[in-house]
């Protein structure tokens, strides 16, 4: 195996592809903190041509390739077993002629047919996309689009993840109620796949096929370019941001009230984002300036013994015209209009809540279970909080038009036993909550990955095997994910102090 790695290194040196070799501890894991060992080779291609050369080499020499971007996924699919080439896609389509990744760029805007469009002359109802390299992130793109007052349509809460990564995980996020999951918001994809002899560069424009490919976790090829849907930033007078609050000692009551409200909202309103979080006294630091905010500060002082949930909506005034009335019919719910910056500040707290930890790791947990019938939310919450008794970490979630999605990740100190306990908690939680009679389903959109694949639905395995056969007949892309034998260890076992 060492010979194969040596040959790969020589190849990378000869072809001028930026790479790094040695004991690459920084790449031993992704946000799942699962590991298959320390990789010894990572390549950083900058465009499609380099990806083609890489894949050709991999096919000829039968070396597996594991695609990776920022590694912010909790699925563990960008973790490379020894003997494979880790391919970091962050530079693809994001470099200048000299090969330097530049943060400043002018976005290329196209319409649904791929024709160039001048964004400064576009109308707010136009269906527009940015033609972008897979290495770009929503953060960068939003910064580039800001002056025209447009944003990326679907932005996952890890907005520093790349578009290639968003497509690979079929991420959902801010904007999903309007534009769907990430795979739904892409109009065109270029990817470098394999054939029995070498590499193929493909362009896919059929929307159904693109949806099929979304969420493949790098099993099908290296995505190099995408046309990603963008949306106009609403003007202040058109936009409505709302914060709803409810608190109770009884989670069932809390859940059933909010669930009832959500059911009504889904039926009568159209919105871009519906996000919720549970607030306790430790969710932000004592010194955090948000505590002193004249409007938002009050939300961070929940009375002891009560659970407080906060639900945020953002959309057009027209689309959400019915919302104040609906909220008014629930006496336990406090309704307030807030500004967009205030909405963003609360969202920041919510994002940090999914990952904030004092010397802890987030063990992959219940990422994406969906409750189809919001009226069941109360029952789900009772079981959830019972299973979570005394555990750290905070559930957050989305209100999507088709249901309520909840995220929870158990947190563990950096010790093997603690991590195993956290994993056990995860399993208890899933046992308690993932039940058909509660209309709960495990969506698995944050995906496969090592340990989670074992528990995934058989139907999903079938879909992915079919995709692999079609796109990757040479089976070079992350073969370890589908052969079911790879057992990942938690990287926490490797910590040395």
């Amino acid at each position: 195996m060492a010979d194969a790695i040596l040959a790969a290194r020589e190849f990378l040196q000869d072809s001028g592809i930026v790479h790094d070799a040695g004991e690459l501890r920084g790449y031993a894991s992704d946000a799942s903190f699962l590991t298959l060992g320390t990789p010894s080779l990572v390549a950083f291609p900058k465009d499609e041509a380099e990806c083609v050369r890489l894949v050709e080499f991999a096919v000829r020499h039968r070396m597996p390739i594991v695609p990776r971007a920022t590694g912010s996924s909790t699925a563990g699919a960008s973790v490379a077993p020894p003997g494979s080439i880790l391919v970091d896609m962050e530079r693809v389509g994001a470099c200048d002629a000299r090969g330097h990744r530049r943060g400043l760029f002018t976005p290329q805007v196209v319409d649904a047919k791929g024709q160039a469009v001048d964004l400064s002359k576009a109308g707010v109802a136009d269906e527009l996309y940015v033609r972008v390299g897979a290495g770009r992130t929503a953060d960068e793109m939003n910064r580039a689009l800001a002056r025209h007052k447009w944003v990326v349509g679907v932005v996952p809460s890890s907005s520093y993840s790349t578009f290639g990564g968003n497509f690979a995980t079929n991420a959902r996020g801010n904007g999903t109620p309007a534009y769907g999951a990430f795979g739904d918001s892409v109009n065109r994809v270029r990817l470098v796949t394999s054939s029995k002899e070498g590499a193929r560069a493909l362009e896919v424009t059929d929307r159904e096929e693109i949806r099929r490919l979304g969420g493949n976790h790098g099993l099908c090829g290296l995505v190099t370019e995408l046309d990603v849907r963008i949306a106009p930033i609403l003007r202040a007078e058109d936009m409505l941001c709302v914060i709803l609050q409810i608190e109770s000692e009884d989670p069932e009551h809390l859940g059933s009230v909010i669930g009832g409200l959500m059911k009504r909202v889904a039926a009568s309103c159209r919105y871009f984002a519906g996000e919720f979080l549970f607030i306790d006294s430790g969710i932000v630091r004592p010194t955090d300036p948000i505590r002193k905010d004249a409007v938002l500060g009050a939300y961070f002082e929940p009375p002891p013994g009560k659970r407080r949930m906060v639900l945020l909506y953002r959309g057009t005034r027209d689309g959400m015209a019915a919302l104040p009335g609906i909220a008014g019919e629930f006496p336990d719910v406090a309704y307030r209009e807030i500004t967009y910056p205030q909405f963003q500040a609360m969202m920041k707290v919510r994002t940090a809540a999914t990952g904030k930890s004092l010397q802890r790791v987030n063990v992959p947990g219940c990422e994406d279970f969906i409750i189809y019938d919001p009226a069941r939310f109360g029952q789900v919450l009772v079981r959830m909080f019972a299973a979570l008794e005394g555990a750290a970490g905070r559930p957050v979630g989305h209100h999507y038009p088709d249901g309520i999605v909840v995220h929870y990740r158990p947190q563990a100190p950096l010790r093997r036993q603690a991590i195993e306990d956290a994993w056990a908690l995860n399993l208890r939680l899933r046992e308690a909550v993932l039940r058909e009679e509660l209309t709960v389903e495990d969506r698995k959109e944050h995906g496969l990955g090592l340990a989670l694949f074992r528990d995934g639905p058989k139907s999903r395995h079938e879909e992915l095997r079919a995709l692999k056969k079609e796109y990757d007949p040479a089976n070079v892309f992350s073969p370890h994910l589908l052969d079911g034998r790879a057992e990942g260890a938690f990287i926490g076992t490797r910590f040395v102090f």
Binding site: V18, G26, A28, S72, H100, E140, L358, F385, R415
Partner: protein
């Protein structure tokens, strides 16, 4: 049913070295947002703060490579975007202090370490400097008074960076103060503020400089201390109190004093300076000390100046490419090209509020830019304001 209280700091791991304690007290979640905002990563893709942190967690004390240790600008862009506010620059600073004794060569200053030598010389007691010769004629300074002008490296910078005339910044500052009726104290007892010593891990020299400076500052009996350098400012205002307690003076950056003098009418800026300018927020004045507004107020008060902001300003401002004179390397040129292209797209004049930003940018322009760069002049804020004095 109870909710878990926030978990407390790690007592379970007493063996953590001080640098690692800084990191783990906050809890990096490996989201990679730091790497994405890092200016060094943009031009050197193998440089990643996230990776350094993970390697530190996995490998313990010695796992930071020399390259990773000295390429960091300590500009703080990573900390500004981090969801858990991991203080990465403080971590690098602590690591440099820890690893310095084992390194063959100290901070790899590309000017042979001259600034370091000067700082070490100034840390010696009994030094008898002449720190006024550079001032020249026609300007008034004193031995005692209410306002101390802390000059920093001004007497020394032009010895190496001769194409910059940094001393003109000090002369402009004194001229403006004199016009407002202030005769500032310029003390021969002054030493280097210790910024580079602190950030390059030379704790001993830093401590000596702090003690020497605190001694003479307290003896002047002055009420205010002003400096034209962003680094001296961040040191004297935010770092010195951690070592010596309250210095007993109000510490101001010159832009803050000038804003006050203009607003109160003590200084009148009446001669038009017809220029379109843009402004570089220095890392040490901006992200480190949170002063974004005073320099902008000064620019708006200068008649004839048309001020256009760059896209990346205030807490998003991009570093001039060199931190504490120890990070200048191959990647620096590309970072400077990126930032100066952005500036040149807004104006023909880039205004800085730190003499070191000015030196680093001027060094790049004076040398050989790696790509075509439109005509751009680098001007200090104080010098520009003094041009508007009648």
């Amino acid at each position: 049913m109870t909710l878990a209280a926030p978990l407390s700091a790690p007592e379970a791991f007493p063996a953590l070295d001080p640098a690692l304690k800084i990191l783990t007290a906050e809890g990096c979640v490996q989201c990679n947002k730091c790497t994405f905002s890092c200016p060094v990563h943009r031009v050197d893709v193998t440089f990643s703060p996230r990776k350094v942190i993970l390697q530190a967690y996995l490998g313990g004390g010695d796992a930071v490579s020399e390259r990773d240790l000295w390429a960091c600008l300590t500009c703080g862009e990573c900390q500004a975007v981090c969801p858990t506010e991991v203080p990465y620059p403080a971590f690098i600073r602590a690591k440099r202090e820890q690893l310095r004794p084992t390194m063959e060569r100290a901070a790899p200053c590309k000017h042979g370490g001259f600034k370091e030598v000067v700082a070490r010389i100034m840390a010696r007691p009994g030094l008898k400097q002449d720190r006024r010769a550079w001032i020249g004629d026609g300007l008034k300074v004193a031995d005692k008074g209410d306002v101390v002008y802390f000059t920093g490296c001004l007497p020394y910078l032009d010895g190496i960076f001769s194409y910059c005339d940094s001393a003109s910044i000090g002369r402009a500052a004194i001229r403006l103060m004199n016009a407002a009726g202030i005769v500032p104290v310029v003390a021969d007892a002054e030493r280097c503020c210790g910024h580079d010593s602190l950030w390059n891990g030379d704790a001993e020299t830093y401590r000596k400089l702090v003690e020497a400076n605190a001694a003479w500052i307290k003896k002047t009996g002055a009420k205010r201390l002003v400096t034209t350098c962003a680094e001296c400012f961040s040191m004297l205002k935010h770092e010195y109190p951690k070592v010596t307690g309250d210095l007993g003076v109000e510490v101001l950056h010159f832009s803050e004093l000038l804003e006050e003098l203009v607003a109160s009418g003590k200084v009148r800026l009446t001669k038009p300076v017809d220029l379109q300018v843009t402004y570089q927020d220095p890392c040490r004045l901006g992200r480190h000390a949170k002063e974004y507004d005073a320099p902008r107020a000064v620019l708006k008060a200068i008649p004839g100046v048309k001020f256009v902001e760059m896209d990346r300003v205030r807490e998003n401002s991009m570093c001039c490419g060199v931190g504490a004179y120890s990070t200048c390397d191959a990647q620096t040129k590309f970072m400077q090209q990126e930032r100066l292209e952005e500036a040149a797209s807004k104006a023909e004049t880039l205004v800085t509020a730190c003499p070191h930003c000015r030196i680093h940018f001027s060094c790049y322009i004076d040398g050989r830019p790696v790509d075509p760069l439109p005509e751009l002049k680098i001007v200090d804020l104080t010098v520009l304001a003094a041009q508007a004095l009648e």
